[in-house]
């Protein structure tokens, strides 16, 4: 297997996703199959080839640092699952 169940558990933890214990084997199997296919890239000789991050590369898309209107606080908070006094509320962070 290209990727072990233990590795999948670790990656899923990094990604802050939680997979049910019962679904892990199937999930790891599917991911493994895809990674095996991706390994065909190793057949390509890429010595000295520069990597591309954007097909149309623009450099220095700059603009003046001007003050412009932006969305107001009520709009910014409109979709918040929980809010109070103009702030986003999250569960306790420090124990």
């Amino acid at each position: 297997m290209k990727i072990s169940k233990k590795e999948v558990i670790n990656v899923v933890k990094l990604a802050r996703i939680d997979i049910e214990e019962g679904a892990l084997d199937k999930f790891a199997g599917q991911i493994g199959k895809i990674l095996e296919y991706i390994d065909t890239l190793n057949n390509v000789d890429t010595t000295g080839v520069k990597p591309t991050s954007h097909a149309i590369s623009l450099t220095n898309a700059l603009r003046e640092d001007e003050l412009k209107e932006s969305i107001n606080r009520d709009d910014a908070l409109y979709n918040a699952p929980e809010k109070e006094d103009g702030f986003f509320v999250v569960p306790k962070v420090i124990e």
Binding site: I17, Y37, P51, H54, L58, A76, A80, P91
Partner: protein, 486 residues
Amino acid sequence: MKLHELTIQDAHNLLKKKEISSKELTGAVLDRIEEVDEKTGAYITVVKKEALLDAENADKCISKGEITPLTGIPLSIKDLICTKGVRTTCASKILENFTPPYDATVITKLKKAGAVITGKVNMDEFGMGSSTENSGLKTTCNPWDVTRVPGGSSGGSAASVAADMCLGSLGSDTGGSIRQPASHCGIVGMKPTYGRVSRFGLVAFASSLDQIGPLTKNVSDCALIMNTISGYDPKDSTSVPKDVPDYLSALETGIEGLTIGVPREFDLDEGVHPDVSMAVKNAVKKMEELGAKCVDISLPHSKYAVAAYYVIATSEASSNLARYDGVKYGLRDKNQNNLIEMFKNTRKAGFGPEVQRRITIGTYALSAGYYDAYYGKASQVRTLIIEDYSKAFEECDVILSPVAPAPAPEIGENAEDPLAMYLADIFTLSANLAGIPGISLPCGFSNEGLPVGLQLTGGHFNEETILKVAYNFEQATDFHKKKPNI
């Protein structure tokens, strides 16, 4: 002619001559949605009241002589393009109740042109899929055969256009998500050059690949929408400051003397459905009859495109989708003792299986120790794919290929095998890796009566040439005139 069956151009001419009003036209489209969308399931949200108001405003403008080619024209919008005040779900449970406080730049442009928005249409969750089956909210069926998928990820856009539930639609294309559903639903779909259309307000899947584009009933309508949505936007730092030509006038000339490349790596006799193979071979013949020269070309690295794509797209997705944490918007799972648990439970409850798979692959590919082997390697192969295209476009003006290896599959056919679904994107996703424009247009039907699409791709910012070739082909054939019986 029923009003909802009109093309954008024909509707525009009638509106201009005041033979119809936008209110009548929009009303006819809304009635059509009510009549057939129970069967196709294209729409997630229909904004009836707002659409009729927009139509009234359009009629007022027209009566004052203020008319653009899109004034009063009802269009549907893929549900990952932000619409101010109208729910934008990305077909995900995590954004099921998200209402954007702003419009995407393309929506601002459509509104300025007087277009009427009928609603938001279904898709694979966050654009991740090729069949719209990965929608977290509903199933969309192909109007040509409701037991089959409409393609994806812009499946709702394609189905809504094919079934006359709008006159045109905006979709987005990360690996074929406009062109492939257009092919499966027998309509026209274009992915513009990367940077041609602003992505501001497009919910990000893979930022170096995503591009917004039109799905329409014919090539002229595609050119009309391109005229409206293209151009530089200071709000998108990857949009390109380059003048926009009049795409409609690009259609006026013939294709005598143009060279069309047919890549030898896309073997039409192997791995391609015989009906697709036949339709594409006939298209090559038709192009030659029209005066183009068809030549053999090579894209030697194309067989690595799927692998490179699924590293790059999943890596970018894992980073982009980190924002869904239940804090600022979207779903928050109530079952939580601390912050980390809240993140995990929210993302578990909110993301569907394909999104979870892709985030996991992307996180793995970007994680310490694997970055060079996966993302680094894929980005190098991407360079080689771009170079293949640069060389090819020295020998030809456009490249011709199928869009998909087979007509629309049955619903559920690939449900258990994500890799099989990925491999079906072989003909489309190179264009996203290379950033080049591509169009899909009808070129035939399978023996079972399912539409087959033809793909034409061109060099960077050469939308004009592929539109011209597509238009000449369309005018010489009747495939685009056939409608599904729904």
